[in-house]
């Protein structure tokens, strides 16, 4: 065995499933010639829990807690998407205050997800300090969201027709302190990281994805916007209250790891803008629609719904047969599609770049595996 690989001058390296830079149980099978990658096969499925099967075996409401467990960094976005999808199919009118609250929390969730990515990515590249700062900021968000939702990551806060409980004073007080602090921190991150020579050398011109290849591999989210395509479902297919908000779709043209970094950093700023606007506009009123049945039963037929999560396009496709339980429910999770491009992106690079490229794609493994 040994002789064969030696004469061929190439060998296999298993990166993961237990590797700190794969952010969970992701396994990359790399074929190497020295430090050069000849071939890459991502192996996924280690944390497959069968969420789609579970969805088809319980009522729509009973599946609600599962949604945030697919992507534990963007749990509230998944909650939100699931509610919006079912409400659209069942024609449930949601009170305005509840819609604002959901959107506000979804943006906070997006911000905390990007912060974790920022800290972990820099840690992957060998910078320890940003990690501590980012987790400090993220902890504030988790505390603030915990005040309202009652949980730190696996939220089950939305309901068909509204939300479970109203915002409280601690939430507003917390945000009042947090928003200016976050603004000044973002400035710090720019000076600390964006112009750092080591960081630039590790990320500039590494892992370049052209817009055409991004389309072929169906990339979405910040990975696609890092290739200069302004595809953001919050603008493209506006759902919720997004048309009423003033924010920019952030793009960068280079398509390399640095461009993806830039997009996410710019998006954090936009998150803060949306949060501020929704705080200013937040109306009074009920938080739950009247007369939503305990067991919702969408009319028979098939439905599709798409949502912009922190990692890209979440697609929900389900077939209802008029009963309490969906006949089929498919979850198109963004990381599953985004990560498949690695088999094309990694060959020709060095092992050290693997960490930079994989980190810049921003995957959450349980969301790939469902």
């Amino acid at each position: 065995m040994l002789r064969k690989t030696l004469t061929e001058d190439s060998f296999y390296l298993n990166m993961g499933p237990q590797h700190p830079s794969t952010h969970g149980v992701l396994h990359l099978l790399l074929k190497l010639d020295g430090e050069h990658i000849l071939e890459c096969k991502p192996v996924v499925g280690y944390s497959h829990r069968g969420h789609e099967h579970m969805a088809q075996n319980r009522t729509y409401l009973q599946f609600m807690p599962n949604t945030s467990r697919m992507d534990y960094l963007g749990g509230l976005c998944y909650n939100h998407a699931y509610c919006l999808a079912l409400e659209k199919a069942c024609d449930i009118e949601v009170p305005l205050r509840a819609r604002y609250i959901r959107l506000l929390l979804a943006e906070l969730n997006r911000l905390s997800s990007h912060l974790l990515w920022f800290g972990a990515y820099l840690l992957d590249l060998g910078a320890f300090t940003p990690f501590l700062y980012a987790f400090d900021d993220r902890e504030d968000i988790l505390e603030i969201m915990g005040e309202v939702t009652g949980s730190r990551l696996t939220y089950s806060y939305c309901r068909f027709g509204g939300v479970v409980r109203d915002l409280n004073q601690n939430f507003f007080d917390g945000l009042k302190i947090f928003i200016p602090k976050m603004r000044s921190r973002l400035k710090d991150y720019r000076t600390l990281v964006s112009k750092n020579v080591i960081f630039i050398n590790r990320t500039k011109d590494i892992g370049v994805i052209t817009p055409e290849r991004a389309r072929a591999w169906a990339l979405t989210g910040p990975n696609l916007r890092g290739s200069g395509v302004a595809y953001d479902l919050r603008r493209m297919e506006p759902y919720g209250l997004y048309p009423e908000f003033d924010f920019e779709v952030c793009t960068a043209d280079a398509g390399d790891c640095y461009a993806r970094y830039e997009v996410r950093m710019a998006e954090m700023e936009q998150c803060l803008r949306i949060i501020e606007q929704s705080l200013a506009k937040l109306p009074d009123g009920p938080i739950q629609a009247e007369g939503v049945p305990q067991w919702i039963q969408p009319p028979a037929g098939d439905y599709s719904y798409s949502y912009e999560t922190p990692r890209g396009e979440l697609g929900i496709y389900w077939v209802a047969d008029g009963s309490r339980v969906p006949q089929r429910m498919k979850w198109r999770t963004p990381s599953f599609t985004n990560i498949s491009i690695l088999s094309e992106l990694l060959p020709g690079t060095l092992v050290a770049d693997t960490v930079a490229i994989l980190g810049s794609i921003d995957v959450v493994v349980p969301e790939i595996d469902r």
Partner: protein
Amino acid sequence: MSFLADIEPLLAERFGAENLAPVDYGHRGYHLALALDQERLRELAQLLWEQGCFLEYITAVDQPGVLELVYFFGRLDQLFRLKVTVVMPKGVAVPSISTILPAADWQEREVFDMFGQKFAGHPDLRRILLPDDSDFHPLLKSFEPEHKHGGQVVNLERK
């Protein structure tokens, strides 16, 4: 000029107007539904790729006696969503489109994993989410899990 207005007559001409149906987007979430014969799948994928579309995802629905494959295509510059359905008797392979659209590679592997649907011409059709030595396809309606959740499964009585 919207892409929808451009592509609708083109699809009707190439694949038959009787197979193409406009859908109430506001309610169902997609604009067009196309029922396709499996032999023309690759032709359609090639056409949509040239027209600037991307493959959102592939999935399947287990219907009595047949498997309904569902392909969703979208656009990156404007709102457009097309659903393509291919109805297959179970156990018959369909042509793979992964050589035209690489995004289909993993999507087809997932459909194979979950439903046992084979894709002819796929370069590496292996299980993707379940262990390689599994002997079942869990999203088929005939699948009975070995261990049911204690107390979790609700009254599934369909009303």
